[in-house]
Amino acid sequence: MMMQAYLIQSVNLFASALLLLSFAMLSQRRILSLIHLFTLQGAALVAATVVVAYVTNQHHLYYSAAITLVTKVIVIPILLHRLIDRLNVKWDVETLINIPTTMLLGILLVVFAFNLALPIAKLSSSIVHSTLGIALACVLLSFMMMITRAKAVPQVIGFLSMENGLFFAATAATYGMPMVVEFGIAFDVLVGMFILGVFMFQIREQFDSLDIRHLEKLKED
C-alpha cells in the first residue's frame, strides 16, 4: 500500500516534469536544445505511462509506452537532428513575442487549464485524475509555442509536444486510448513528421528562409 502511494506520487512528479519541460521549451531559443528538451519530455511521458501501467495493472499501457519510446524518444529526435543538419539551422529561433511575456502568458494558460480541468477530473475514476490539469496545460503551452514561433522547425516541435500532452491526458483520465487509436496516432505523427520535413525543404527553396511569415504573401512583389 505504501509502495502504491509512492508510485502515484511519482506519477505526479513525472507529470510535473512534463510541465516543467513544456515551459523550458517555451523559453528556449536554440533549436538544438529544443530537440533535446523534446526528447526528455518524451522520456518523462514514457516513465509516467509505465508507472501508471504498473499501478493499475493495465497491460496495454505497456505497449503504448513502448510505442512512445520508439517514436518520441528515438525515431523522431533522430529525424529532427538530421533535418536541422540538412537545413543547417541550429541556433536562431525568432519569437514573435519576447520570451518573458510568453512566460507570463504561459502562467495564465496554466491557471486557466488547471481551473478548466478541475471539474472534468472529478468525473474521472482514474487514480491519477488530478494530473489531467497538467496534461491540459502542456497542450495549451505547446499550442502557444506553435503560435509564437516564426520559424518552421520550432513549430513542428510544438506540434509534436502537443501530441505528448494529449497522450498524457488520455493516460491520466482514462488509462490510455484503445490500441488501434494509439497505433493510428503514432503512425500519423511519423507520417506528419515526414510531410512537414519535405514541406520545410520546399519553403526554404522558395523563400531562402524558414520564416513562415513569407507564406502570408499571395503574390510575388
Partner: protein, 314 residues
C-alpha cells in the same frame, strides 16, 4: 531562555562564521579542478581575510559616514541571517524572531546598504554596479519569496524552523511542487550570490562585473568584512536550500552535543552542494546582462507554477 539555548545559538553562529570561508574555498577549488587548473588552497580565504584585517583601510576623500558603516551593517545582516536559518539545529532561541519573509527582508536590507555605499563615492564603476545589483535584486526577491511560500504552503507556516521540522518529520512524501521550487531556488541563488551565469566572482575591472564593481573602493578591514559577508551569504543560501530540500540530519533539540553530531552531516551536504555549484559554473557561460531579467523571470514563474501545482495535486 536557558544557558544551553544561548550556547547553542552561539555555536550555530560561530560554526557559520568559520565554515563560510571554507565553503567559498571549496567551491573555488572544485572549479579550478574542473577547469584543469592547479587549485588554490582550501584555506586561501582565511589567509586572505587575515591579510586584509592586518592591512590599513584607505577611504576616499569624499566618502560619507555611510561608506564606513556599510560593511559592518552588511556583515551584521549576514551573520544574523545565518543565526536564524536552521543550519545545525531546529530548536534555536533566535529562530522565532524572524520568518521567511523577514529573512528575505534582511537580505534586501544588506543589499540596499551595499548599493548606497557603492554610489556614495561617485565613481562610475560603483554606480554601474549598484544599478545592476538593484536590477537583479528586485527580480530575484519575489522569486525567492515564492520559493519559500511554496514550501510554506505544504506546512501552513512561514516560519522556516516549523517548515523544516514538518518536512523532516512527516513520513517521506514526494512533493512535485518542491521540485519546481528547487529549480527556481537554484536559479535565484546563482543570481543572488553573483555566480557565473549572472556575474563572475573571479573578475576584477571588467565591464561585465556586478558585485566586484560595487566593492571596488573598499580596502583593508572593510573589504575583509565584505568578503566575509559574501561568503556568509553563499553559506546562508546553501543552507536554506539544503534544509528545505534535504531536511535530514538536523539536531532536533538545541543541545550543544546533538549539534556537534549534526555538524559532519552539514559539512558533507555542503561539500556535495559546493561541488555541484562549481559544476554548474564550469559548464555554463556568463550571459548578457539584458538576458538576466529573462533568467530571473523564469525562476519566478517556476516558483509560481510550483504553488499552482501544489493546489492542483496537493
Amino acid at each position: 531562555m536557558s544557558w544551553s539555548g544561548v550556547f547553542s545559538q552561539l555555536l550555530e553562529i560561530v560554526a557559520a562564521l568559520l565554515l563560510a570561508p571554507l565553503l567559498t574555498g571549496w567551491v573555488n577549488q572544485c572549479r579550478a579542478w574542473l577547469q584543469n587548473k592547479s587549485a588554490p588552497s582550501l584555506l586561501l580565504q582565511y589567509q586572505m581575510l587575515r591579510k586584509l584585517f592586518h592591512k590599513e583601510s584607505v577611504v576616499a576623500e569624499h566618502a560619507s559616514p555611510l561608506f564606513r558603516i556599510a560593511p559592518y551593517i552588511v556583515f551584521g545582516c549576514m551573520a544574523l541571517a545565518s543565526g536564524i536559518i536552521p543550519t545545525l539545529s531546529i530548536d534555536l532561541p533566535l529562530s522565532p524572531a524572524a520568518d521567511a519573509i523577514a529573512l528575505v527582508g534582511l537580505f534586501a536590507f544588506a543589499r540596499v546598504f551595499i548599493s548606497l555605499a557603492a554610489m556614495d563615492i561617485g565613481t562610475a564603476f560603483g554606480s554601474l554596479g549598484a544599478r545592476r545589483e538593484m536590477l537583479i535584486g528586485f527580480l530575484a526577491e519575489p522569486a525567492l519569496l515564492m520559493v519559500l511560500f511554496s514550501a510554506s504552503l505544504i506546512t501552513q507556516s512561514t516560519s522556516l524552523t516549523s517548515v523544516i521540522e514538518t518536512l523532516a518529520h512527516r513520513e517521506f512524501v514526494i512533493y512535485p511542487s518542491l521540485a519546481f521550487a528547487g529549480v527556481a531556488f537554484t536559479l535565484v541563488s546563482l543570481a543572488e550570490n553573483a555566480r557565473v551565469p549572472v556575474d563572475n566572482p573571479s573578475t576584477h575591472l571588467e565591464l561585465t562585473m556586478i558585485h566586484e564593481a560595487m566593492i571596488l573602493e573598499y580596502s583593508g578591514r572593510h573589504l575583509a568584512l565584505i568578503e566575509w559577508a559574501a561568503s556568509l551569504k553563499l553559506f546562508a543560501y546553501s543552507c536554506i536550500g539544503l534544509t528545505l530540500f534535504f531536511p535530514w540530519g538536523l539536531a532536533e533539540v538545541g543541545s550543544p552535543g546533538e549539534m556537534i553530531l549534526a555538524l559532519p552531516v552539514l559539512v558533507l551536504k555542503l561539500a556535495i552542494g559546493g561541488a555541484l555549484l562549481a559544476l554548474i559554473e564550469a559548464v555554463s557561460a556568463k550571459m548578457r546582462i539584458f538576458r538576466v531579467p529573462e533568467f530571473l523571470a523564469t525562476a519566478f514563474m517556476l516558483a509560481v507554477i510550483g504553488m499552482l501545482v501544489h493546489f492542483l495535486l496537493g
